[in-house]
Symmetry: C2
Amino acid sequence: MTSRTFLRNFLNYGNPVVTIFSGSYCSRLYFHQTPVCKVAWQAETGFKPSKVAVVTKTTRYEFEQQRYLYAELSEEDLKQLLALKGSSYFGLLERHNIHTHNVGQIVDNLQKEGIEVRIVKRREYDEDTVRWADAIVSAGGDGTMLLVASKVFDKNKPVIAVNTDPERSEGHLCLPVRYTHTFSDALQKLRNGEFSWQWRQRIRMHLEGTGINPTPVDLHEQQLSLEQHSKAHRTTTEAQRSTTHNYTTPCLLPVRGLNEIFIGESLSSRVKYKSFKPHLTLSHHRASYYEISIDDGPWEKQKSSGLSICTGTGSKAWSYNINKLVAQAVEDVLRIGKAKTGLDIPLNQEVIESVTEAYNESLIFGPEENKVFFSVREPIVNRVFSNSRQRGFASKICVRSRCWDACMVVDGGTSFEFNDGAIATISLCNEDLLRTVNLD
Amino acid sequence: MTSRTFLRNFLNYGNPVVTIFSGSYCSRLYFHQTPVCKVAWQAETGFKPSKVAVVTKTTRYEFEQQRYLYAELSEEDLKQLLALKGSSYFGLLERHNIHTHNVGQIVDNLQKEGIEVRIVKRREYDEDTVRWADAIVSAGGDGTMLLVASKVFDKNKPVIAVNTDPERSEGHLCLPVRYTHTFSDALQKLRNGEFSWQWRQRIRMHLEGTGINPTPVDLHEQQLSLEQHSKAHRTTTEAQRSTTHNYTTPCLLPVRGLNEIFIGESLSSRVKYKSFKPHLTLSHHRASYYEISIDDGPWEKQKSSGLSICTGTGSKAWSYNINKLVAQAVEDVLRIGKAKTGLDIPLNQEVIESVTEAYNESLIFGPEENKVFFSVREPIVNRVFSNSRQRGFASKICVRSRCWDACMVVDGGTSFEFNDGAIATISLCNEDLLRTVNLD
């Protein structure tokens, strides 16, 4: 393929970007096992970027090292302390090396293609990286795919994740595991158009009301070093001081939700203590009060352990775990149904498993589908709060907060204050589509 | 009744205490509607305390006033700011006055009985109060019943709660609502033995391992003023500095769980911002990793949104909401079952509701029953984490933390660090029984 061909293909796709990010160790792997929905559009022709940023994750080894070195401990102390906690220093080091090796493979293959490569640590990932690169490549898990997507607003920039540690995480948002080891094949298929685009809907949020603050707080790196913590806090504090006020007109938030947004109380107290962790946080689980309106329907009071609103992509993530039933529950329901109806409902494992599977599958929909799925988490029913629909599909959802110390968390990574007086409008818009690819 | 009789009756019950506490506004009212289990022992004879402490709750009016006054705002500003948030100043004031009136009634009735009364604000409630009083009376909701129980370790001290604002809260741990208005009748029935004791099992926890800290952190008052916040933090910090170390032998924690204990991740970041609240806390919902052993069975890896372990009392509280099914889900299961089995399962409302009710009732057991109920919350199943039993009864549960920033929260009010390396043993012991009363 000549550089002219590259250029032509490149132009066919505006500013195509192969973004392969790597997640932090603690990325939320809430995915279950059924294969990713493959509904997508065939690429008319291949594409090949000329500038690629490779962003690498913070492995748990790096994380622990960072914490302990911050506490002025030696590598030897680290070994002993990890052993005390039942973790193996060498185990972590091995995972770290596997990740590092896979990242190396990716970089080599890109350079063999004559692509300009820039390696970026995930905590250094920013809009400039996205702007500079017409292709961003890295190897990682689902957690960072979410971080990455949160900074990509150009729907012509496909985001592709490669799982750099397949034995440790599912990586449902990543390319099939085999491409971790044969990344050159993936590049060839992309170049030859042997792939399909997977467009993913994303949630946009408008906030209005009193005491709201449209400044996002990035939680992705919260588990990193104390230095980074304090930095993050100082930064946010400044940002917030300058922006907290009353919004009488809806304010579009600067992030999009690829998986879901979660609204709920989060009363916590910060307690410094002698430890390697920057701080100890204690969460007091409380009921969340709010009012909800589905598709401009009537406002309805709700009291629950929060509210989840997900996309098709997210319907396989946290939302799935909120709503799915385990076989044990299905068996109980069928047994009670059998007793109540007197019908001879068979309660063998086969029936129970097929019902359970069908029920759980019904919770999943395609990433490109133009609708969201809401779930009232652990709804509380009493004479004050009636519980009507616990969940369902919608194209627009409005939520009025009655919470005390709540937040709206986007993809578990970005958070906004959401207290009494604030109103959020959740919707979808084709402008917000995220371009990813499917490789067989 | 002569003072001799009082004395005799008093001696019959060691050091009986009628403890009627009032909850803070934000008490967790996770209770559903079925009546409280009435299994109990008939009192052989009545009892009457001679010293009673009346502990009063912080109403939301007091709470808001405190916050706003702290920000040097006038009562007039308070009115306007509450209005902005869609809350009514006069509404809050009305609830406050109803509570205050009911507390007054209780105090009057006690004094008419010649009982020495001491009035204590809930945030002033401490072990000295419990020690001084041979009867502590207050009017309040379930939230403070939990706070109260957390400081009562003498199983001869019955705890009784009166709901001071029945229109606003369920008060399932409180006396029947009518006694709120006819407290003298309640006192008479207690005196004449026209009641039964309700013994409630409580959960005890042993902690062992590395990096654990047996110093409890009280979350009950977290929603109060900034002064109290900083005070609480300073205190705790000092306490913890002096006590964080490695426990090689199990350490019995200084609290008991009346409702439940919850174990889960709680990664949060503390962000100061211009507001009346002391701080804004953002919670990043993460999967919790841990290993669990039921009744000395094999250790099993779990990944979920936390683990709940409740008593019979708590089986109607948060645990109920974690496990209960809404009619919508039951209908879906039966519909799928109908399709899969080809049986003519009737899907009318009557059947669906009776199955739903029977299923949910099966989650509840008696407060005095000598067992706990565990629930894996939102279990995560993938090729790494198999999900076996999601829930069940047990008499002993061991949990080994694999969490990063987790805590063990007792009755939503007291919290302990519970991170990688820590092992908790959860059990019941008759020493820990809480004595409450049932009045018809």
